[in-house]
Amino acid sequence: MDSHSSALPPEKQPLLSPLAWKGVGLYAILCLLVVPLLHLLLDAHSPWHISAYFINLGGKILCYAIVAVALDLIWGYAGILSLGHGLFFALGGYAFGMYLMRSIGRDGVYHADLPDFMVFLNWKELPWYWTGSDHFFLSVLLVLLIPGLLAFVFGYFAFRSRIKGVYFSIITQALTYAFMLLFFRNETGFGGNNGFTDFKRLLGMSITTPEMRVTLFVLSALTLLAALLLCRWMITRKFGRILTAIRDAESRVMFIGYQPLWYKLTAWTLSALLAAIAGALYVPQVGIINPSEMSPANSIEIAIWVAVGGRASLIGPVLGAITVNLAKSWFTVSFPEYWLFFLGLLFVTVTLWLPGGLISLLSRLRKGES
């Protein structure tokens, strides 16, 4: 048997290459030490000071990057394009937003026990589905439970009916649109088109202090790292090889004895959970959640980050989310009317001339060197 072993590939695949581990180290130093300290310790006039604006922007983009990684797992590796990931992101955000709303207490405009929008609607008591939103841990559980359950049930019926490709994408798009309309209604009980805002506290502490800002930023950075490592671990397992096999030849996967349904459903539900966690981290940092987060355009934008960064690479989508969103925050200030044209142009350019995304540019450079 040993005569073959030279021809066969090695038994173990490492989780990350040595280079990638160095990247992880650099990322950790930067996001967990350098940035927080530069914000907290330095005087606002110092040239090295990182302003609150940038911490917030950074935290927001890190959350977007988590969603991009989540979409890459399901689109890049399993070949299932979801154009509704914004829904899971928003539901996670809403679930945590309920807790933030309840934490306002009597400090709202009407100084009432109920959230302001309920007072405004003349509601006398909290609807039943708000029970539990007073407790932090129950709310965190809801962040996972609601989007997870929705994704599981929706995915089960969609994959069992063998809905694939464009049809699946369109249905996810319709799903997020339907939820947006539902959440726009005041009667739904989530603040209608204004959504939730004016948050005051988190776990009893003020939400606007630099310490809280940095804590949320660091938490987002850690979650992104954890999401990346988790997805990377999954795709280096046999699970990941089956997932890509489903993407490339699903009928063959069935005809070697696997039920693709359960593989797709596992990846799909995990992906939705990651998006929901990102949403929950996002809401306290931007201070608002409303139904526009569920608009179809938002979900399409997530797919653009992944495509621009490079599918099936995990790190590519992170790069894509950062690049596109930095460009967006600059564009929407300098030339707001041209932003959508630029985004469209970027997407077309990448699709036509750089199908592997930005990340393929890097690997091309590295090949050029060696």
Partner: protein, 276 residues
């Protein structure tokens, strides 16, 4: 109320050996020599009868070739056997007891039927080795896929198959880079590694060089006996080389069956197929 069962029922359920042998659910029973039965199977697509009262039986260990003009129903027949298409009427049994019309594709595979598609279908982004690893017989559930490692015996088994299909030197290569004929072989290897009882091969030598096709004929002949094979092929020279029983399909049912020499001189076969 005190109902007494008829006395015969006791001995019936205990399984009297003189009545035959015990039938185990889900276990292939080829005690009557036949491994696959198709009985009066009909499949209709929008009024078009792709299979028309088709009846066919394959013996255990047999190598059977299926020929017939385009649209004769060869691929549809493979589809109904493997669960991809459900028949409108008729029955399909694997051995004496396993009803294939009630099973899903993966269940049919697990029961012991492997299928090679007309167009070679391998996982192009995976290495040749990984293709075979995924096809290995064994636990196929998600739970198992997290910690499954390919080691020891399994690696030996893969190496053995790689040698059989002449792809050992390419083990680490991406399978998308293989030639058409090599992909055909890889797909056949993915079937063999599951040790199926019955192999369905849809045009297995399409796109192969003469030498590769020669080697394939040798491979299939060596498999017959241990496995049952059903080969759908257009290449008459290849079918002659296999020297097996041949079934001619025409308009969804069997037109003729017999040795290649008999088929060649069958007037109806000449008329609808060979003559053209």
């Amino acid at each position: 109320m005190n109902l007494s069962l008829p006395e015969t029922s006791d001995t019936f359920f205990q399984g009297n050996s003189s009545l035959g042998h015990p039938l185990l659910p889900g276990v292939l029973d080829t005690s009557h020599r036949v491994i696959l039965y198709l009985e009066e199977v009909t499949v209709t697509f929008d009024g078009f009868r792709a299979l028309n009262n088709l009846s066919l039986a394959i013996d255990a260990g047999e190598l059977r070739c299926i020929i017939g003009p385009n649209g004769a129903g060869k691929t549809t027949m493979m589809d109904v056997i493997t669960g991809k298409t459900r028949p409108d009427s008729g029955s399909i049994y694997f051995g004496q007891t396993i009803d294939l019309t009630r099973m899903s594709e993966p269940e049919i595979v697990t029961a012991g039927i492997g299928r090679k598609f007309q167009k070679p279908t391998v996982f192009e982004q995976h290495s040749v080795f990984d293709n075979l690893e995924l096809a290995l017989r064994g636990e196929k559930r998600v739970r198992h896929s997290w910690h499954s490692r390919c080691q020891g015996e399994q690696r030996d088994r893969i190496a053995e198959i790689l040698e059989t299909i002449h792809l050992l030197p390419m083990a680490r290569q991406q399978s998308g880079a293989l030639s058409h004929g090599q992909k055909q072989w890889l797909e056949i290897g993915m079937l063999l590694i599951q040790e199926p009882e019955l192999l369905l091969l849809d045009e297995p030598v399409a796109g192969m060089t003469d030498e590769e096709s020669e080697q394939s004929a040798e491979l299939f002949l060596s498999l017959a006996g241990r496995h049952s094979l059903m080969v759908v092929e257009h290449d008459m020279a290849f079918v002659s080389k296999l020297n097996s029983r041949v079934t001619v399909l025409h308009e969804g049912s069997v037109l003729a069956e017999g040795r290649m020499e008999e088929i060649r001189h069958h007037p109806r076969v000449i008329e609808v197929y060979l003559g053209r």
